[in-house]
């Protein structure tokens, strides 16, 4: 019976992968385009999403204390509902950032001839584990409300900002300044490095 389940699982598993392959477009997104998109996403996150003021604004208990002391029950409920929505959306964006980093890493590492398969495998597991943690955090916010872990949300924001910083360094070659430095290398005979 175990053998039957094993062989059937292998056969059905392969069929599922083939189905996914059949549905997949023959051409994947180009590397350059994906990198530019990653750069754009990073800028959006850094300039707005993980800004300390915004995180403080979403998770600050001062607003809640004010509403709780002065407003009617219906207003309190509405306030908590709205804040929870915002907090969950914020966590969702953090998750998106991890996914973006994952995408970026695997899109790059596939070109490395010295790639270490064991390192890649362990990184793939780490990404999966971290994404699960993010989902758990999202769940906690959904169940416990926007102030389920008030003192520690800032650290998540800081970590996200750090990821942005590291990713930004990796994507620095896409900056106009770098392009300029390539331009400076143009030979004097009129040919240009574009």
């Amino acid at each position: 019976m175990i053998e039957l389940i094993l062989f059937l699982s292998i056969g059905i598993g392969l069929l599922v992968l083939l189905f996914a392959l059949a549905r997949r477009p023959a051409r994947q997104e180009g590397t350059a385009q994906a990198l530019v998109e990653a750069k754009h996403a990073l800028r959006t996150l850094q300039e707005s999403l993980v800004a300390a003021e915004l995180v403080e604004r979403i998770f600050d208990q001062g607003d809640w204390k004010y509403v709780a002391s002065a407003a009617a029950e219906a207003t309190k409920d509405e306030f908590l509902r709205d804040r929870k929505k915002i907090a969950v959306a914020w966590t969702h964006r953090v998750k998106t950032q991890i996914l973006s980093l994952k995408e970026y890493h695997f899109r790059h590492s596939r070109f490395y001839s010295q790639l270490n398969p064991a390192t890649e495998f362990s990184l793939a597991l780490s990404f999966a584990a971290l994404l699960q943690q993010c989902r758990l955090l999202q769940l906690l916010l959904i169940i416990g409300g926007p102030y389920a872990a008030p003192a520690l949300v800032g650290r998540t924001a800081a970590a996200t900002a750090r990821i942005c910083a590291v990713s930004e360094k990796s994507l620095a070659f896409l900056n106009p300044a770098t392009a300029g430095s390539f331009g400076d290398q143009s030979p004097e005979d009129g040919a240009a490095v574009l």
């Binding site: 392969l14 520690l152 990796s170």
Partner: protein, 258 residues
Amino acid sequence: MLRRYILAQLLSLAGIILELGILWRALRAKLLPRFPLFYAYIFWVLLLDISSYGVYGLGPSVYRNWYWGTQILTLLVGYGVILEIVHKSFKNFAGAERAAVFMVIAVFALVFAYVIFRSFTIPHWTPAATYYELERDLRTVQAVVLAGVLAVVFGYRISIGRNLKGVILGYGLYLASSVISSELRSYAGSSFHAAWRLIQPYTFLISLCVWLIAMWAYQEIPEERPVPRLDSDYEAFAMKTRNVLETMRSYLQRTVRP
């Protein structure tokens, strides 16, 4: 009985026509040098299909021995198709190719370890008691390797193009159906034999149709060139990703703890 015989003959004839069609398109579209191992497989299958008519006349026992002997050889030629899939899929991606080769070696190591484990734990155990089981086992190894290759293709977002996609789909479909039907036949015994005799040729006909369509003309695989900074050290790059992951994990852990 006569109806079944006529149906088998028609299926066989349809197979030969499709195989000839695939080889004809290979010559017309100049695909032969691009996928030599795949076309060697098709040519081998065509050769067997045509010669089976002559061997069948020599008697059922001669045909049975010839059939199983050539089936095992066909399986080995099929490994060439898998090799071609690995080689062509990761031609422009040195890192992904390394991961795929590692995965293939890991699969063979696992199979070897499984055989050793079974032979030590079960008295009088043999890897395959019948030709059916041997075929099933060898095709299962191919199926696992192909599934691993597909996992690498998906994980690294590799563009494989229409031709290679067709080769993988056709061969994978045949492999998956072979593994499932062979195991069901092995489990259910002769009661599944009639179904097995139908599933195998029909699935192979579908695979031949997929190949004929996908390999009708050559389609260039869009080449993806690495970005300028990728000559730097891989270990440093992987370490950087790992550091970011660890930092992120520690913050998240602290976030979820009360």
